[in-house]
Symmetry: C2
Subunit: 201 residues, 2 copies
């Protein structure tokens, strides 16, 4: 009954919003009614942006980051260090590392991490392509910048095994206290890593 | 710099998502990258649903609820009590009351509440239309079901003054403890209302 009283297009948009991660049925209807109420063109602007998203973006054939042009702006930027490769799980990780301004090499996006629970194996990720790139021999150091999670660690371990016989240095991002964090509220694993990785002043 | 590394269509969708209420820049980029990763047609389904939303819905010319047909299914349902009118702020309130299955009359949607802070006066709401409907004389009781907020109470008070000389009974939804609520954790205003409105067993 509660479904029937909503016009079909309204219910349909609520259902579509509810398919997105982190948006439950309540948020989905709130968003939908917000768009209905809006006098501006927000709904249509959003619709156009969604259509354009897949039409005008692709994966870079070199690093598999999301891009409008292929190869992407980072891969084709000769000013960037071609001897340094940073391997990440997702395109958003590239954004995060770029934002830090601490890295000026190239990237390789795996598009996920190894996760037996979710049925994701090495063959589902861009690992073969990574090994090929490394074999071409321009890289001196590979930073395995997968997430500090179970899946990310497993993936880094797997990559370490696959790449260990090649003439490259393998590194991992430092683990420790987050800047601005509070020792008292830091979880014991992070704190343990911070102690292990302590640096001389 | 962080903006430039994102392809334009990706940044555009992030910006559009971030215009929605309750979605910050972080959630907006998470949603966008979720849609990019998806192999299904979620982005296009969502785009189509958004386009259809305004094309195929309108406001009922009688009650101003959202509808595909005009008048809406509730207004044209002869089985519903035509002597009972429930005045609400938003279409979502109609959904909520219908879900309760406690009401079988007609509705009137104001599309907001009086709010001097936000510059919303009586003339911005469907109040003139409400007075006209009440003047036509089919209603015996008007339930002023605006929200139990400052704006909702002001609106109910305003409506009471506008309608008090007409031959209709004006009522307001009962205030009290929410079902399943806990006395200990109920705020003092709600508890005060619950005491004032206590009922004999």
């Amino acid at each position: 009954m509660s479904r029937n009283i909503l016009p079909r297009p309204v219910q349909r948009l609520i259902d579509e919003f509810a398919r997105l991660p982190g948006i439950g049925p309540k948020s989905a209807s709130r968003l939908t009614f917000y768009l209905l109420r809006g006098t501006d063109n927000l709904a249509l602007d959003l619709a156009n942006a969604l259509q354009e998203l897949k039409e005008n973006t692709r994966f870079c054939s070199v690093c598999f980051n999301i891009t409008e042009e292929d190869p992407c702006l980072i891969c084709s930027d000769e000013a960037r260090d071609a001897s340094l490769l940073c391997v990440v799980e997702e395109p958003l990780d590239v954004v995060a590392i770029e934002r830090s301004r601490a890295f000026n090499g190239r990237y390789h996006v795996l598009h996920g991490a190894i996760s037996p629970v979710e049925g994701i194996g090495p063959e589902d990720l861009k690992i073969g392509e990574l090994v090929q790139r490394v074999q071409q021999g321009t890289f001196k150091e590979i930073i395995l910048a997968t997430n500090p999670t179970l899946e990310g660690e497993s993936t880094a371990l797997y990559l370490q095994r696959r790449l260990m016989n090649m003439p490259v240095k393998l590194t991992r991002l430092a683990r420790g206290l987050p800047v601005g964090g509070d020792l008292e509220y830091t979880d014991e694993i992070t704190l343990g890593r911070a102690v292990e990785g302590r640096q001389e002043l």
